[in-house]
């Protein structure tokens, strides 16, 4: 069977779907992203293949070859050039999308900052994968977490459906005149990129209409109005330009909520910055992002059936960081674990732990004790039992158990790696609270 046939097969219309012009289809994450791109049909797609997001580029190429997209593909010779061409095309007034992962994103690094600093609303899908060394092709948030300060808006998708929905919203959000920033849409390598699920695919017209036409400001391609892109800033201007970038990022908070709400109104699937699950009366909770949020929610359901007041808070965006929403959800809880699928060597805990902890600082007197559980690096399997264990630890923490460690890697085989406490014993939240007389 040829590849062309294969991806067409994935578009099986469900005869039972009553909603006109949209269909329930089975698509892998990569295929769903490619289909969202087909519907948006950006002007230019500069790309370079890398597992696990290769299929996005291949499918887009196929759509173009079969006349289903007008998009110009630029099959560049590296990711550095992919992002460079993206910047050039976007400065030329084009709507631009691409996809990459891991080493590819790392290779783009320099230009990521140029894209955001130049306010170019490029949309980039990331099939999250671990960075080398050791080389590893599996799910891990290391690369996108590493680029979280590159000035891009970042979404982390929980499901194939959400990856599809996020791509469509990303164009609206990034291109909004209040924002004008590039957007990364992350989907976990293999767990989403290679998993086929039933999703609702909106009609092509619905998507075109939702996204709207793109009007770039300051295009290079208007010879009557020459512009200079990428001037160098003396120290007397640089900070003001960074403040402008920050303003876009701050505005993105409301724009993400607006666009997510409108998306919900039109298509029945609303989105916000965070996704609280059973948080209203929760006593303990896990914060997580990406595809394993689904597993945590499943465990929450099971534990709720047994009368446990547990909850889950999924972060949909990491940039902008939804600090207010997090604080609002966490205050009053008895204990919280932040699950990170990345880590930061030499730092105190992984990225999301650091940031949640920092968000809670001003509320420290009413904030729950929090711990960091690092999981799933390089595709290490997470199991329901791991999640249940973390909730058990949270129970202990809530009961004032001073032995619950602050930071821990989940699912380690133990040998030969030392545990976190062996490497560096940190005072536990309970021990610290006791000292502070709490």
């Amino acid at each position: 069977m040829t590849k062309t046939q294969k991806s067409k097969d994935n578009l099986i219309q469900n005869p039972k779907s009553k909603i006109q012009n949209r269909k329930v289809v089975i698509l892998s994450g990569n295929n769903a992203v490619a289909n969202a791109l087909r519907q948006v049909d950006p002007h230019v797609y500069p790309g370079y293949p890398i597992t696990p997001s290769t299929k996005i580029m291949e499918t887009v190429a196929e759509f173009i070859a079969n006349g289903k997209m007008q998009c110009e593909m630029v099959a560049v010779e590296s990711e550095h050039s992919a992002m460079s061409a993206a910047v050039g095309a976007a400065a030329g007034g084009a709507r631009v999308a691409s996809a990459t992962a891991a080493n590819g994103l790392a290779f783009m690094w320099e230009v990521l900052y140029i894209a955001s600093g130049s306010h170019l609303p490029i949309v980039l899908a990331i099939g999250n994968r671990a960075l080398s060394a050791p080389i590893n092709g599996f799910a891990d948030h290391g690369e996108s977490m590493g680029s979280r300060d590159a000035g891009w808006i970042q979404f982390y998708s929980e499901s194939v459906q959400e990856a599809y929905d996020n791509i469509i919203q990303a164009f609206r959000i990034g291109e909004d005149s209040r924002v004008r920033l590039p957007v990364m849409v992350c989907l976990d390598g293999f767990l989403l990129t290679h998993t086929s699920e039933n999703i609702t695919m909106q009609g092509d017209d619905e998507v075109t209409d939702f996204v709207g036409p793109y009007h770039a400001e300051f295009s290079l391609l208007d010879p009557d109005k020459p512009v200079s892109h990428g001037l160098s800033d003396p120290p007397s201007y640089y900070m003001e330009h960074k403040m402008r970038q920050q303003a876009g990022m701050e505005k993105a908070r409301e724009v993400i909520e607006e666009v997510g709400a409108e998306y919900g109104k039109r298509f029945g699937r609303p989105y916000g910055l965070v996704d609280p699950y059973c948080m209203d009366d929760a006593e303990t909770a896990i914060i997580i992002l990406g595809s394993e949020a689904g597993r945590v929610k499943g465990v929450v359901d099971k534990m709720r059936e047994a009368g446990k007041k547990v909850g889950a808070l999924r972060l949909r965006t990491v940039r902008p960081f939804p600090d207010e929403q997090i604080v609002r959800q966490l205050l009053g809880l008895k204990a919280v674990a932040i699950m990170d699928r990345s880590y930061a060597p030499g730092a105190v805990g992984a990225p999301m732990f650091q940031e949640v902890r920092s968000a809670l600082y001003d509320y420290r007197d009413s904030a729950p004790p929090i711990v960091n559980r690092i999981y799933g690096l390089g595709g290490r399997e997470l199991r329901n039992a791991d999640v249940r264990n973390i909730f058990a630890e949270l129970d202990a923490l809530a009961d004032g158990d001073a032995t619950v460690p602050v930071i821990q890697m989940v699912g380690l085989r133990g040998e030969p790696a030392p545990t976190w406490e062996e490497m560096r014993p940190l005072e536990t939240p309970i021990a610290v609270a006791a000292k502070r007389g709490k």
Partner: protein, 194 residues
């Protein structure tokens, strides 16, 4: 033995890379979708090497599926390549009320001696022979789907026939389509299990 599934069912396929198990898993998912179920289909993660043992997975549920990642404990195990029996642990991590369905020339009793079962059901079918008889190719996937419908009730036979007809008509001449349909029906009848 038609059953209606009330909870999420997890399926693990054992095959060899290049034998089309991922496509078969997708066909099973597409059939279940026709019945309004929520579905997942995914391959073993990582690079594929022709001929190497490979697993694929399905989740099929009346409710939205939120979990991702490798199936921890399968309700249904499907062995597409009989040479894998005894070669890879197809009998590991199967739910106690689960079922193992194998393509094999052996009888249920013979296969039982190869595997270690703890109460799971076992079903056997010479799917390769059916495929050869019905459409002249050594492709056991379509007959296996027919047997799945019979043994697991994950999908109904009627829906499966519609799905198979639709998929095969897109790529193959009517003779092959008919052959595949016949293979599904024959497998549905012939699969033996206890």
């Amino acid at each position: 033995m038609e059953k209606v599934i009330e909870r999420m069912m997890e399926v693990r396929w054992h095959s060899r890379a290049g034998q089309g198990a991922v496509t078969a898993a997708e066909t099973l998912a597409a059939t279940a979708l026709r019945e309004g179920k929520h579905v997942q289909a995914f391959p073993e993660f990582g690079p594929e090497r022709m001929g190497a043992p490979l697993r694929a997975f399905n989740r099929i549920s009346p409710r939205p599926i939120r979990i991702h990642g490798v199936v921890e404990e399968a309700n249904v195990v499907i062995v597409v390549d009989s040479s894998l029996l005894g070669a890879v642990p197809v009998d590991a991590n199967v739910a106690p009320d689960g079922v193992i369905l194998s393509n094999t020339t052996k009888s249920v009793a013979e296969v039982r001696r190869i595997l270690t079962l703890n109460g799971q059901k076992l079903a056997c079918l010479d799917a390769t022979q059916i495929a050869v008889d019905c459409f002249g190719m050594q492709k056991p996937n379509t007959p296996m789907l027919g047997a799945i419908a019979r043994v697991t009730g994950l999908v109904a036979l009627d829906t499966l026939l519609v799905e198979v007809e639709e998929i095969f008509s897109k790529k193959f001449p009517p003779k092959v389509v008919e052959g595949n349909i016949k293979a599904v029906q024959r497998a549905y009848q012939e699969v033996s299990y206890e």
